[in-house]
């Protein structure tokens, strides 16, 4: 219980710090909205009956928002905290390590909620994105988001041990996310990609997140446009769960409080 209480206190601190770093606020929260404005304004075409590219893009951006606020943010921030002594200082206090991770999860969650709301509002107001009205779709949205955010956070913590220094982290992590966005159905329509690219993307979680989000935000009729001719909810859940397991094991095994020397 105390671990959770301290975790909430950590989350409060993390969110405050996040909001005070203008670069991170702009980069993490506003950049996806900016992309939506650009892509939505350039590609006004209809990609299937009753489906515009901007609708497709909003679903993809919400999915990749889970990767941005979780994986990308943590894989860049934690190496910086390792470099500047934040982690070492915390290790020297009686703060339970779990509380640190709870704090991270809470700040990721807060960021993500703000980002999803921003994308939905801009999408609805400017590009005719329709919010789902039936409960079933919101249930889908909830489980896809929860699995996505959990996996994304754990993989971000796991990947934070890869960059050798805080400075190099951004240069290492950003291209990975960008490539995944290109091949997973965010910037391009997934069923138009070469099949080898689709196969590569299917290994990684973002492809399954975008597909899950499309099943929330696009009309039922679009399911037939998917590569598998269906939303494949079972496989989405399975793939995301596998990545959560991989993330959990790696995060527990590789997490370091100090830089290696």
């Amino acid at each position: 219980m105390n671990t959770f209480k301290i975790g909430v206190s950590r989350g409060n601190l993390e969110i405050r710090q996040f909001l005070r770093q203008r670069e991170s606020v702009v980069f993490t929260l506003l950049f996806p909205v900016l992309l939506l404005l650009i892509f939505g304004s350039v590609f006004k075409n209809t990609i299937a009956p009753g489906v515009t590219f901007s609708q497709y893009f909003v679903a993809g951006m919400i999915a990749s928002g889970l990767i941005n606020t979780g994986f990308q943010q943590l894989a860049i921030m934690i190496p910086l905290e390792r470099d500047d002594g934040t982690l070492k200082r915390l290790r020297g206090t009686p703060m339970p390590p779990t509380s640190y991770f709870i704090g991270k999860i809470l700040s990721v969650l807060a960021c993500m909620i703000v980002q999803i709301v921003l994308l939905l509002v801009v999408g609805a107001l400017m590009f005719g994105v329709q919010l789902p009205t039936d409960l079933g779709r919101w249930v889908t949205f909830t489980w896809v988001t929860l699995l996505g955010i959990t996996g994304s956070t754990l993989l971000g913590i796991a990947f934070s041990s890869v960059p050798r220094s805080g400075r190099g982290a951004s240069a290492m992590v950003t291209p990975i996310v960008l490539v995944l966005q290109f091949i997973s159905g965010v910037f391009f329509i997934f069923n138009q990609l070469p099949s080898w690219m689709q196969n590569v993307a299917s290994i990684f979680p973002l492809k399954w997140l975008t597909q899950g989000m499309r099943s929330v935000f696009l009309p039922e009729s679009f399911a037939s446009q998917e590569v598998a001719k269906s939303w494949e909810h079972g496989r989405v859940a399975l793939m995301l769960t596998i990545w959560i397991a991989i993330g959990l094991v790696l995060a527990l095994k590789t997490f370091r409080w100090e830089r290696s020397r």
Binding site: S9, N12, D84, T86, R91, G92, T93, P94, M95
Partner: protein, 288 residues
Amino acid sequence: MNTGVHTGVNNAVEIRGLIKTYGETHAVAGVDLNVRTGEVFALLGPNGAGKTTTIEILEGYRDRDGGTVSVLGEDPSKAGLSWRNKIGIVLQSNNDAAEITVEEILNFFSDYYVNPRNVDEVINAVGLEEKRKARGRELSGGQRRRLDVALGILGNPELLFLDEPTTGFDPEARRAFWDLIRGLRADGTTILLTTHYLDEAEALADRVGVINHGRIIEVATPATLGGRDSAKVIVRWSENGSAQEERTDSPTEFLRSLGTRFTGEIPDLTVSRPTLEDIYISMIEGQG
């Protein structure tokens, strides 16, 4: 040789045969040391002597390759969070908390301790009242260091580790810091400190230990280290236009006879015993 190891005393820290190697280098090569409960102990030594490695093993940051270590009765490599609740750590350098204010970080960190000190009291104790609303990146080097110390004492520790705490302090801030340490000692806090300032060790420490090449050379009080109390007194004066120096065991007698050679005052007279720094330098140089 006195290595400061006493048995049957209540010791906050007990180290026996401590060994730590990095590759081929023996960073710590068999250290025996006790720090008594309630004392201020200063560990002195050149860079790379093994000070920080030893301290970080005691703090639970590093594993050891040999020997036994007991800190407040527990092995730091196995001790849990309740043990961490009883120790305070001031590490060598940090750049964290760039965007949070002094009072915020202290308030947040006091959530981690069972029995934290009052945050306002801690801010006053380290002299950061005027900077309490300043963010980490707005603090000067000395102010940052004081924030480190504030975070170190926040949990009301029984044992406080201070690794070069006053680096970057101006003389006034150092004096204020010394008063703070004396106050903590008076309250019963055991303090283990490393420093490059010998005057600081002399002002604060009940005992000092000199470490070089990963081994303790000697442990003694600042006044008796290296036979300082029995060292010859140095008398310096000017005579016939040149500086003169005499080292003697009986300075009073020497001065009496010297005085007879001058009609008035003895020009440029100084009488001094070797400083802690003189003794320390000769010990380290003697080691090569």
